[in-house]
């Protein structure tokens, strides 16, 4: 299992979701993707995309008042 980190601080829609989609495609089953971002709407679009595409959201938490950390599991 490998773990990749995408630092998307400062990125605005649609970049965050597109970056996540592209990176997920390069990962193997069981790999994890850590996403750091500060754009609230993107947290929502990414988690709904993951849910709808069979990936698992292992972790979702805030790192600061506006910072988020998501961990996705490639399924």
């Amino acid at each position: 299992m490998t773990e990749r980190t995408l630092d998307l601080h400062g990125a605005i829609c649609p970049d965050p979701l597109l970056q996540v989609q592209l990176t997920m495609r390069t990962l193997a089953k069981g790999d994890r993707l850590v996403v750091l971002l500060d754009y609230p709407l993107a947290v929502d679009t990414i988690s709904r995309w993951a849910q709808g595409n069979g990936h698992e959201m292992v972790e979702l938490g805030k790192t600061s008042s506006s910072g988020w950390r998501l961990v996705l599991l490639r399924c």
Binding site: H9, G10, C13, P40, T45, R48, W49, G52, S65
Partner: protein, 306 residues
């Protein structure tokens, strides 16, 4: 709304788009009812077909670069997003310049001089098809209800469900027609005209331009600021500096496109659409097409190449 239009394409997720249609349907029923009861008057945006097509398209492409629609940009300013300040600067300046200034001749050339009319009236779906407006409203509302019930969008992570949000926006938008009408302005929510008016008032002190809608628009960032503070989500944040010119140019395209088309995603997309004005239908369809085009050309293609 930029997101609502875009996510149908990027992640095949129609939850926001459904909420948008719920808002339009609720508003359509209420304002037609209000008009029948004599509570409000429906004035509509004239249909210049080239303006709706070209203006809508440019506006939609601009939204993708600016990182949000007109309302989205205004409320993100209140949430502390510096990039949206930059987009708003471009948008408000170019909206004003297209209405009164340097860009006006270009906007008028795109628009043409004669609006299309049906029997001397602004075309709506009802008078175009020569049916009672309630037939159109009934069909649209039934279609929205069936779609939402059969294929509900995935729920939002936070706060209210998108359906509930759509319902509330529809109620507020209908109330806006009534309240605005009391001040002698016979239209619902709009953003672009009032934004341009604000600039014009600030710079040239035109006394005519401070309508009810100007104060509504000014209240958006304060409301967003209060809500963000309340939920502990307010923070100053900025994209990388190289995004600023992109958002500024996006704002300029939005201002030119929206003023040329006669409205933005709110004036046409939320308000005019619920009255089924043909101008609003065409402008909104081309705005959506513009968002898809912009998203593909500037983001998806580039992301794949990277």
């Amino acid at each position: 709304m930029n997101t609502a239009f875009r996510e149908v394409m990027v992640s095949r997720d129609a939850a926001l788009f459904q909420a948008y249609l719920v808002a339009v349907a609720v508003q359509a029923v209420l304002i037609q009812l209000g008009a029948s009861l004599g509570l409000l008057e429906m004035s509509l945006i004239p249909f210049y077909w080239r303006a709706a097509v070209v203006g809508g398209l440019i506006f939609g492409i601009g939204m993708t670069l600016a990182g949000g629609c007109t309302t989205g940009t205004w409320y993100r300013v209140g949430e502390g997003m510096v990039g949206s300040f930059v987009a708003l600067l471009g948008f408000s300046l170019s909206a004003s310049a297209t209405r009164w200034g340097l860009l006006r001749p270009l906007g008028l050339a795109v628009r043409g001089s004669t609006p299309l009319e049906i029997g001397g009236e602004v075309p709506t779906l009802a008078n175009l098809l020569n049916v009672n407006p309630w037939v159109i409203i009934g069909l649209v509302a039934a279609g929205v209800v069936v779609w939402v019930l059969r294929r509900p969008g995935k729920p939002s992570l936070f706060g209210w469900s998108w359906g509930k949000t759509g319902l509330l926006v529809g109620l507020l938008a209908a109330a806006a027609w009534y309240i605005s009408g009391l001040t002698g302005r016979h239209y619902g929510f709009s953003i672009t005209g009032p934004t341009a008016n604000m600039v014009n008032f600030a710079i040239a002190r035109e006394p005519v331009s401070l309508s009810w809608a100007v104060f509504v628009v000014l209240a958006i960032p304060f409301g967003a600021f209060a809500a963000a503070k309340w939920s502990g989500e307010f923070a100053w944040r900025a994209p990388s500096p190289k995004k600023f010119p992109q958002q500024f140019v996006g704002g300029i395209l939005m201002g030119f496109g929206a003023v040329t088309a006669g409205g933005c995603n709110i004036g046409h997309g939320l308000t005019g659409l619920s009255a089924f004005a043909v101008s609003s239908l065409v402008a909104t369809a081309f705005t959506i097409l513009g968002v898809w085009t912009g998203t593909y050309v500037f983001f998806m293609r580039r992301a794949r190449g990277a």
